[in-house]
Symmetry: C2
Subunit: 311 residues, 2 copies
C-alpha cells in the first residue's frame, strides 16, 4: 500500500475517500514525523517546514516524490535525495501572488494605509492619490505571475514592459534592464531566486529609478539589496510594496519596520484560502490529487523541478 | 471673444496657449466669482463647488455649457438653467474609480489595514487572507466602471455577474437582483444615483448577502441604507469597502467611523493626479480641450446629460 503524507488533517480527510488503496499520514514537516513515516513514497510538505526538515529524508528510503505547495523551490534544491522527484506548485499561486502585487501597488499609489489610519481617528481628509492610468510599469519576469499582473495593470491604462532571460514577442531581454529602468515609474519583481537574480536590485539599479517611483517585490527577498532599499526609502525618494524581504521573518528593530513610503506584508502572496472548512487552496487541492493519480498510474508528473534519477 | 472658466490657475495656464481667441477665467465655484464672470459661455466648475454655487447661474446670461469634471451629475440636475447644456466627465474617471473599487476590495480580502497596523508595531504575523479566485461577484451597473472592474476580477479567477436596467448579452436584468444576491460573495455598486437606486441596498438586500461577503460602494452613498449597513457591520456578519457614504463628509462620531469589518476612503474614487505639476488628470484635460474645440467650432458636444434647448 502506497504511503502518502499531507500537511494537515483537513487535507488528509479530503484525500482518503478519493484514494482507497493509499495510506495517508499527516505531517507538515514542522513537527516531528508521525509513526510509519519511513514508508512515505509521496509527500506534500507544509508551507513552513522546520529548517532542517530535509534531514528526515535520510530515514525515508521509499520516498519518490516531494510535491511542494509553493511555486518557489529555492529552499529545497540540493536537499532532495537522488532518486526523488521534486515538484513545485507552479501556477497554483500565480493568481493569488499577482493579485497581492496589484493590491499592494494600488494601496501604495492610493495611500490606503493613510486612509485606514484616518478612519481609526475619524478624520475625513482627501488627498490626491495616483492611479495606474498612463503609468509605465516594468515587470521583471514574464511567467504566469508577471504576465497576469501586467494584464491587470493594462486594463486600467498602464503601459507595461516585460523583461525576461528569454526575450520573445512582447518580452524584452533582461540585459536591457539598465536602459529601461529610468523610463518606468513602477518596477515589479516576478522572477525566481537564482544565482543571477540575487542582488539584481542593488543600489545602482535603485538609483536609476525615477523619483517617486515604486518597487514591488512578491518574488523573493534576496533579489533586492535590503540596505540599499532602506537608504532610498529613508530619503523618501522611492516607495515600495514588499511581501518578501531579506531576512524573513523580519527581526524586531530591523530598519524596514520603520521605513517611510513602505507597505509591508509578511510573505502572504500565495496565502489565500477558500471559504471552505479545509482551508486548502482549491488549486493546490486540484494539483495534489491530479499529481497523486499520475504517480499511482505511473504517468509523467507535472511541474517537475529536477529529476535526479528516473523511476 | 468667448469667455471660458476653469477651476484652477494650472488649468488656465494649460488652456490659454491652446485657445488664443478665448478669455480664460479661473473659478472653482467654491469661492466668489472672478470679475467678468457674467460673460462666461463655457464653464468647468471645480470638483467641490459650494452648495449654492448654481445660484450664480442667474447672473450669467451668456452661459451655454457646463462641463463637469465628475461622472456623477446628481448635484447639478435641475440646477442648470434652460438653454444651457450640461456635460459629464463620463469615462474620465471610469478607470480610476474601477481601480479604487478593486484596490479596496483586495485590501479588505487580504486584510491590508491589519498588516499596515502590524507593520507600525513591528509585528510579523501571518493570517490566511482571501483571493479573488473562485469568488462570485455581483456587479450592479454594467457601464464603464462596472465592466472594467469585472474584467479585472475575472483575470484573477473570479466569476462575475453583471446586472443593469437594460439586460443584454452578458448582463442580467436588475429585477432579478433578489434571486442573484444569495449566490454571490461580493456585491459591487457602479450605478448612477437615481430615484430607483436610492436605498436599493436596504436591510432586506443586506440580509440576503451570504455571511462574510463584502459590499463595495464607489458609486454614491445614498444607494446604501447606511443604518442597515452599520447594523450588519457591527454584528461582523458582512464586510465592506466604502469610498462613498451617506452623509458626506462623514460627521465626527458617526458610527461608520468605528464599525468593524470596514475600510473607508473619503470619496477619492476618481481623484488621481498625474505626476505633472498641473495636477489635472490627463483624461480630464483631454476631455475639456476636445469639448471646448467642439463648442467653438459649433460641433456636437460629447457626454451631454440634458439638453434643455438646442443651439
Amino acid at each position: 500500500m502506497t504511503v502518502v503524507s499531507v500537511p494537515s488533517s483537513a487535507a488528509c480527510a479530503l484525500l482518503r475517500p478519493m484514494f482507497e488503496d493509499v495510506t495517508v499520514l499527516v505531517w507538515d514537516m514542522q513537527d516531528d514525523p508521525p509513526e510509519g513515516f519511513e514508508r512515505i513514497e509521496f509527500m506534500v510538505p507544509g508551507h513552513w517546514p522546520s529548517e532542517n526538515a530535509h534531514c528526515w529524508f535520510t530515514a525515508m528510503p521509499e520516498l519518490r516524490v516531494v510535491q511542494l505547495l509553493s511555486a518557489g523551490v529555492d529552499h529545497w534544491i540540493g536537499h532532495v535525495p537522488s532518486g526523488v522527484t521534486l515538484c513545485s506548485a507552479r501556477g497554483v499561486h500565480g493568481r493569488a501572488t499577482a493579485e497581492l502585487a496589484l493590491a499592494g501597488l494600488l494601496a501604495v499609489l492610493r495611500d490606503i494605509p493613510t486612509y485606514a489610519t484616518q478612519q481609526r481617528m475619524g478624520v475625513w481628509e482627501r488627498h490626491s492619490g495616483q492611479g495606474l492610468d498612463t503609468k509605465r510599469i516594468l515587470v521583471i519576469g514574464a511567467g504566469d505571475i508577471g504576465g497576469r499582473f501586467a494584464s491587470a495593470c493594462e486594463l486600467f491604462g498602464a503601459e507595461t514592459t516585460l523583461v525576461a532571460r528569454r526575450p520573445r514577442e512582447g518580452v524584452r531581454d533582461i540585459t536591457e534592464l539598465a536602459t529601461l529602468v529610468p523610463d518606468h515609474e513602477v518596477v515589479m519583481l516576478a522572477v525566481p531566486m537564482t544565482a543571477s537574480t540575487v542582488g539584481l536590485i542593488n543600489a545602482e539599479f535603485l538609483a536609476a529609478m525615477p523619483d517617486g517611483s515604486v518597487l514591488v517585490n512578491v518574488a523573493r527577498g534576496p533579489i533586492v539589496d535590503t540596505d540599499a532599499l532602506v537608504a532610498e526609502l529613508f530619503t523618501r525618494r522611492l516607495r515600495a510594496f514588499l511581501d518578501v524581504m531579506d531576512p524573513e521573518p523580519l527581526p524586531a528593530n530591523h530598519p524596514l519596520w520603520s521605513a517611510p513610503n513602505l507597505l509591508l506584508t509578511p510573505h502572504v502572496g500565495g496565502f489565500t484560502g477558500r471559504h471552505d472548512p479545509t482551508g486548502w487552496h482549491a488549486r493546490a487541492e486540484d494539483l495534489v490529487t491530479a499529481q497523486l493519480r499520475r504517480y499511482l498510474n505511473g504517468r509523467e508528473l507535472m511541474n517537475v523541478v529536477a529529476i535526479e534519477s528516473g523511476y
